[in-house]
Symmetry: C2
Subunit: 408 residues, 2 copies
């Protein structure tokens, strides 16, 4: 964790333990820092797993292996290395991951493919096998830790630990979802770019869990951006231990499936927003709601063009109601739009309508809104029924300071 905490930080929630899920942490020393950097979560036998991964074609071995592992649908453990992404490290990086999978699977008596590994940090440096081996040996002897400790340990440039919780009643039983996430920079959809882990005691078949996670991802992680850069390592995994004892959810025909899907969607949205709240250098949390596009996908593309525009993001940082930059960003999105039907609002004040400044426009309430921490921008394209909401943060000196000298 960095020294300065994001002004958009929220307190870590009260998170219950999940039956069949035991987190532990240790210090592998991947970087020269005085903190734990290896997180291990043991999962009960029979745990179902689903995952979504970065679309970056230069992805890490962890992502490559993880994509294959989720197809079998079963998990017994998760290992997260912080401080080294192990991406673009060729066969050396892959050997390090396989070593961790073998070491843990021997301990648990499971198949290596049931051990999921993620790594986050600098790209291009092979994960040191000796440190990984000693770290894993240490963590297997460590006592269980809190969710907050685990959330801190998976972090890198994050300034606060991030957790989310939700419950649903399924088959007459209350099931709980507890989730942690890390992410601050190199955040752009496709999916989004971070490591997130969702644990539930619900019984869910792997296939249905994957269906639900993919759907939730489309409206949450894939609708956030900090800096338009897509990481090589992004991973969100959902683990369901089944310890709640409900009849397994296998499809939307299963009783309680809708409630569980809503809870999972809620947790994913909470996690996605937390990442934006910890966007590198972020001073403001920005929601961009696009309506009237020709399709939902088109609305999302327009929203992301606005959210990724450095000129829009710096205007918000400067608390400047420079809505012309929003017009520019809509126009460059490559999606259907008609300048003379376009309308733009800040909060609930329409600043531009029908291709020019709104007659009713009064800058005072807009300027007041822009001085706050939570900024709302609305864009109505005026062509159809497509809609999407995208979240981002402003672009500040803090982003430059953090990233102009991260590796050294």
């Amino acid at each position: 964790m960095s020294e300065a905490i994001s002004p958009l930080a929220v307190p870590f929630p009260a998170m219950p333990s999940i039956a069949g899920v035991t987190p532990r942490i240790a210090r592998a020393g991947y970087k020269d820092w005085g903190r734990c950097d290896l997180t291990y979560v043991e999962l009960a036998e029979g745990t179902a797993v689903a995952g979504v991964f970065t679309q970056n074609v230069c992805c890490s071995s962890e992502v490559e292996l993880g994509r294959e592992q989720v197809k079998a649908g079963r998990a017994r453990a998760l290992v997260v290395n912080a401080g080294n992404s192990n991406a673009f490290t060729g066969y050396r990086g892959r050997e390090a991951v396989e070593q961790i999978m073998a070491q843990v699977s021997r301990q648990l008596g499971c198949a290596p493919g049931e051990v999921f590994v993620s790594s986050t940090g600098v790209i291009g440096v092979p994960l040191p096998k000796d440190k990984a081996q000693a770290g894993v040996a240490a963590v297997l002897q460590s006592p269980p830790c809190s969710w907050e400790d685990a959330a801190r340990t998976i972090g890198t440039t994050d300034t606060f630990p991030k957790g989310a919780v939700a419950q649903a009643v399924v088959d007459g039983r209350t099931v709980t979802l507890a989730a942690i996430i890390k992410g601050s920079g190199m955040i752009a959809p496709d999916m989004a770019t971070m490591l997130g882990y969702i644990f539930t005691d619900a019984a869910v078949t792997p296939g249905f869990l994957q269906e639900l996670l993919s759907a939730a991802n489309r409206k949450s992680f894939s609708c956030i951006t900090v800096d338009s850069d897509t990481s090589t390592s992004d991973t969100v995994l959902a683990f369901a231990t089944g310890k709640a004892g409900n009849a397994p959810l296998a499809s939307f025909d299963s009783p309680g499936a809708d409630a569980f899907a809503a809870a999972l969607g809620d947790v994913c949205m909470q996690l996605a927003h937390l990442v934006v709240r910890d966007g590198e250098g972020a001073q403001k949390f920005i929601a961009i709601e696009v309506t009237g596009a020709v399709s939902d996908d088109s609305a999302r593309a327009i929203g992301l063009a606005v959210a990724n525009s450095p000129l829009v993001k710096t205007a918000i940082a400067g608390e400047d109601a420079n809505w012309g930059r929003v017009v520019m960003a809509v126009g460059k999105a490559g999606e259907p739009a008609d300048r003379d039907k376009l309308a733009i609002r800040f909060a609930d004040k329409w600043v531009a309508q029908a291709g020019l400044a709104a007659d009713s426009y009064d800058e005072a309430p807009v300027a007041a809104h822009l001085k706050g921490r939570e900024i709302s921008i609305g864009v109505d394209i005026g062509l159809g029924e497509g809609r999407a909401t995208v979240w981002t943060c402003d672009l500040t000196h803090g982003y430059i300071s953090i990233n102009a000298d991260y590796r050294s």
Copy 2:
């Protein structure tokens, strides 16, 4: 012009006058600033014109009208307003442009469509018709000015005036091209985003001039980016007065056409590089050469993904050889790439090859290269013969300072 001059600035070149071209400047007072902000260039009868314009669908009336005007292929005058882009101003903005066209055409006795108008500055504020009228009246009475004065007057956030010159021998006669450009922020291809004007005494048919300009644009203005934002007003116009007396160039079969095309391409490249050298906050000029892609278009897309990556640009700003961020940017480009065939170099030092750090990699010479003003990054995709070079600048605190409070 801003106070602090870009460290990448180059001196304004010695630029000859062009027969049939007379620039003048005046002060319309579009902003509350103590400088000229209206540029007028009178062109001899029979001048051919070609143009390329922004692809932003929220373009200004100037761009909309200009696109139609170039189809007729003839120009008698150019008017450039600085300090107000007149974009997203609906019918009011269009009326202001038509007023300028009418006022100038009455003076010259030409058709209104032969008067080209560009405007640059804040979006969303209609160009004030009274100031435009008085400014045009004043400029028509002003004495001819130097190219450097004209280059300064079309500028907004530019920190230095930008000009380029080239010559070619056509049909036994030396023809000259003189060009000026403005642009610093909201710079991204499609075409690129700035106002540029090229004047030549060569005789060229409008159709062939358009063909040559469009081709030159693809390798120059469309291969630069400062901040990935595409302006609503970008325009590059080429004017050919024919006063050199050569037999008109009508196709590549015309004698001297190749030499003229090369000179035009040279001028466009000079102008494009000047815009990058004045990129907002720029401290370093970065060339990204992509080879081995599946096509030239794919290479350009990969180059732009690298050039637009905030994490790559901040790493260069920090003089950090963080080549992992280049890997990330290649991987997110959405173009064919194979992680394990990818190679990356800084200057002539290969830092990564075949999917991992190069065995020969020595950081010392790379670190020394990164301390310079001119940075060269090479990316070899290893899949085909496609190649492209893209130019950008680094992302610094200066960009944030300039843009977090530009409008106010």
